[in-house]
Symmetry: C2
Subunit: 357 residues, 2 copies
DNA sequence: TTGAAAGCGCTAACAC
DNA sequence: GTGTTAGCGCTTTCAA
């Protein structure tokens, strides 16, 4: 009986503590009677190593399943081969596509990706950027919700590439950017509403310290003016990018007899909220009110009515952002900033169609 | 002129190389004429430090903006305060909620989260797990798509907690699990279809090596048999979890005169594909065909028809998984495994309602 | 071609 | 209380 017990114990925990630590360079070195540096060289393929020594080492690596400790490497290298991505909301398909884009380029270059979700909170955003920098990321892709970039200016200046997407930082010129021209995009979608015969057009958007908000609002205003329409201030809602605000704002507009015949929202969540309010009021889209927004991607094919929207090339934004960082990795030290503008698509669907003469 | 140039240069690149490196412990130590260990102690709040020394140090930290190098800490500690999360698809709202759940618990404990996206590819999954382990993560949360866990058995045995969610690994007993009872959930949603009067019920699911697939299929079969219905093999589709497969399979079923009156899909993407096929065929939901699936979350409120579905508590799955890891961190070495079963919700919507007597 | 040794930035004994 | 020092696991001169 006691033998059996012993046996079982032996099976489940072979040598206790000894086994807990993964095999490392010096183990291989000792085992093969070579120096750690030789092993290191063959692992990395740097420097010359005798043919048969290399053989033996490669063999042992396979046998033992040796895996280099990336943390030690990063410390030595003083840079983790890692990209940080900071987004406002992971469940937002725009961001998840951006991330996939970053991911693709990163993995092509054997980099890893650290993804952080800020829930649109500036505090969290700053915290995460700090943490990522402390972790020696090679570069950052940030959809900022307005953190004070000056906090990180030392890092930016020290050459760690920051690539902003979506929102511009409220700051100087020393950063990279990948985004669409929000002003222009907003003008084009507003123009579409005007072309449908609307003149009483409302717009809802997020906080104005985010450039996506302010630029989209600006484009909206410009377009109306170009068409000889004076924007009604009461029909301009500035709040958050969340569904709930879209709902509240729309409800308020609908309380009044004199209501807009079309609504533009600066993102899809706002629009979903707005639509809820419209339906609650018993109104029809687009007959009573036409709607359009930014970023309404319908993955399901079942969203009804289909929503007219500006669609950003999210995946490309992510991959290009990552490529910028990779380029900076190669010509390190050269302080150079890229601003890349991508072309969005205006997708026309039922929600805005049907002339309003 | 030459003065001006000099001035400009001075502004943009102060001391060249000197500035590139962030301030570190020894800098503070030198500057304050104390030892690095004293500074380290006050940074970490470990060990006693004289009141005024501490003051001075804290001051200097604020002045210089010193941030500890996490990579060095991790190396020393032999563990990065980081959780790895491996999911099949970031754009899937189920997973993004899981991630948010993990994230919450992690950040409460000052841990970071590494998110990896496998695109449902086993190769990528194995690669990412390897990379995460090389990066000394404290634990892993994995929605496996079938990688060979034996590859990582040494790590599991060495005490790094693996928490599986969603899918079970095709292996032994030595792992943690947080999931719903898929068999039971599947039975309950199938029963609902039966209760609506359906007897010709089809089911489509993903690869059977994923337990979510096989268990859901099993539950489906059991339920039919319990109700005295013999499952029709031609109406059981085993393929992938992607929309395209749902579409193809459904189309095939609809080619035949004798078609199912209800369809269950093992996830929402399959269902969206199926619905597309149903509409293309000019059929109505639920009048001609009732549908139901797993995980159909409608964030927009606009998906029409509303889809009857089993909703998993995704956020909780993520947070509980992370909590398990945190617990293991505290009682390190103790090899103990937790299997936690959460209760899903059956959400009834139009897509399956209306008796079929 | 190979090895010895000096760190990367930090923590934690262990002395004083 | 505070300082000295020995690593954490790896890479990379520099000699041999």
């Amino acid at each position: 009986m006691s033998q059996l017990l012993l046996f079982a114990q032996t099976l489940s925990q072979p040598l206790k503590e000894e086994w807990r630590d993964a095999v490392q360079l010096k183990d291989l070195a000792k085992q093969l009677n070579v120096s750690v540096s030789t092993v290191s060289r063959t692992v990395n393929g740097t420097g010359r190593v005798g043919a048969k020594t290399r053989e033996r080492i490669l063999d042992a690596i396979k046998q033992t399943g040796y895996q280099p400790n990336e943390v030690a490497r990063s410390l030595k290298r003083r840079s983790a081969r890692t990209l940080g991505v900071v987004v406002a909301d992971l469940s937002n398909s725009f961001y998840s596509k951006v991330i996939k884009g970053v991911e693709k380029v990163a993995s092509e270059n054997s980099y890893n990706v650290f993804v952080c979700n800020t829930d649109e909170e500036v505090g969290k955003e700053e915290e995460y950027i700090r943490v990522l920098l402390q972790n020696q990321v090679s570069g950052l892709v940030i959809a900022t919700v307005g953190s004070d970039v000056r906090l990180f200016q030392p890092y930016i200046d020290s050459g760690i590439p920051f690539v902003f997407i979506d929102n511009l930082p409220s700051l100087e010129d020393r950063f990279n950017l990948v985004a669409i021209d929000n002003d222009k995009a907003s003008r084009s979608i507003t123009q579409h509403l005007v072309d449908q015969g609307h003149r009483k057009i409302a717009m809802m958007t997020g906080p104005l310290n985010q450039s996506t908000s302010s630029e989209r609002l600006l484009g909206f205003r410009k377009c109306l003016e170009e068409n000889g329409i004076t924007p009604e201030e009461r029909w301009i809602g500035v709040g958050t990018f969340k569904q709930e605000y879209g709902y509240r704002m729309m409800r308020e507009w609908l309380l009044n007899e004199d209501r807009p015949t079309a609504v533009l929202a600066a993102n899809d969540f706002l629009m979903y909220g707005a639509i809820k309010a419209i339906y609650e009021r018993g109104l029809k889209i687009p007959e009573d009110i036409a709607v359009a927004c930014f970023d309404a991607n319908d993955e399901t094919g079942l969203i009804s009515p289909g929503i007219t929207a500006i669609i950003q090339p999210a995946y490309e934004i992510g991959s290009i952002a990552a490529e910028i960082i990779m380029r900076r990795e190669h010509d390190k030290g050269r302080k150079q900033y890229e601003k890349i503008e991508l072309e969005p698509v205006l997708l026309l669907k039922q929600s805005s169609m049907g002339n309003k003469g």
